[in-house]
Amino acid sequence: MQNRPSGFGNPRLQLGLSVACVFVSELLLKRGANEVAAPDDAASWIGINGLASPLVWWAILLIIASFISWLYVLRYIPLNVAYPLSRVVDILVPLGCWLFLGELISTLRWCGIALVIIGLALVAKPIARMEERL
């Protein structure tokens, strides 16, 4: 690992910001999609009608911001360390759905989400190593 900058350039802070941007962008995308939802229109499967929602544009900006800070993080922290840490977003998103989007999550779905999170936590390191080599 190289010398780590401090302050706003601190890679761990940037990793946190990257995760926060992904988390908020997921919630904004869902809210934006709800605003323009046209499930009876077959063309809406392609999703382009989503661009009519300002929330979707905010989400796009956050996705770009998360991508930039992620690239910055990878200059200082190896992928097989940064990637498993970044997966905390897998816990935040379902909680955000429940707390901020008011989604009714059944016990069955919570169990499924928990298994996926445990599975992802188990494979995060080997997957990051594989991705580096692919």
């Binding site: 997921e26 919630l27 995308l29 869902k30 934006g32 999609a33 709800n34 323009v36 939802a37 046209a38 499930p39 809406s44 499967w45 392609i46 999703g47 382009i48 009608n49 989503g50 979707v56 996705i63 897998d90 998103v93 379902p94 759905c97 429940w98 989007l101 989604e103 999550i105 059944s106 069955l108 779905r109 169990c111 499924g112 989400i113 928990a114 298994l115 996926v116 999170i117 445990i118 599975g119 992802l120 936590a121 188990l122 494979v123 080997p126 997957i127 594989m130 991705e131 080599r133 692919l134």
Partner: protein, 114 residues
Amino acid sequence: MSFLAFFFIVVSLVTFVAAQLILKRAMEFSATNGMRNAYFISRVAIGVVLMTVSFFLTLGLLQRFDLSYLYPFQGLSVIFITILAAVVLKEKLSARLTIGALLITVGIVLVSMS
């Protein structure tokens, strides 16, 4: 869930994983060969197109399903990478990977039933 929805979920994840790997290759190539060449530009263009396809398909899916329902399907991307690594790198599955992939699969099945 309809077959169409599952199809779009798989396509959006496959395009996303493919885009990530293509962009990574392009960036590695640019480190030694620079960015002003047809190979780099074409790979970045393909990566961006695939990312865009994945993004809009997700946006279409979000109009129809809860985020708490769709999000766990992202675990499938891990399965794709594992399969790809097994085929391309001839990587053997460790016990940890196998158990993780199984948990993710069972979790996704439970979510899809909910």
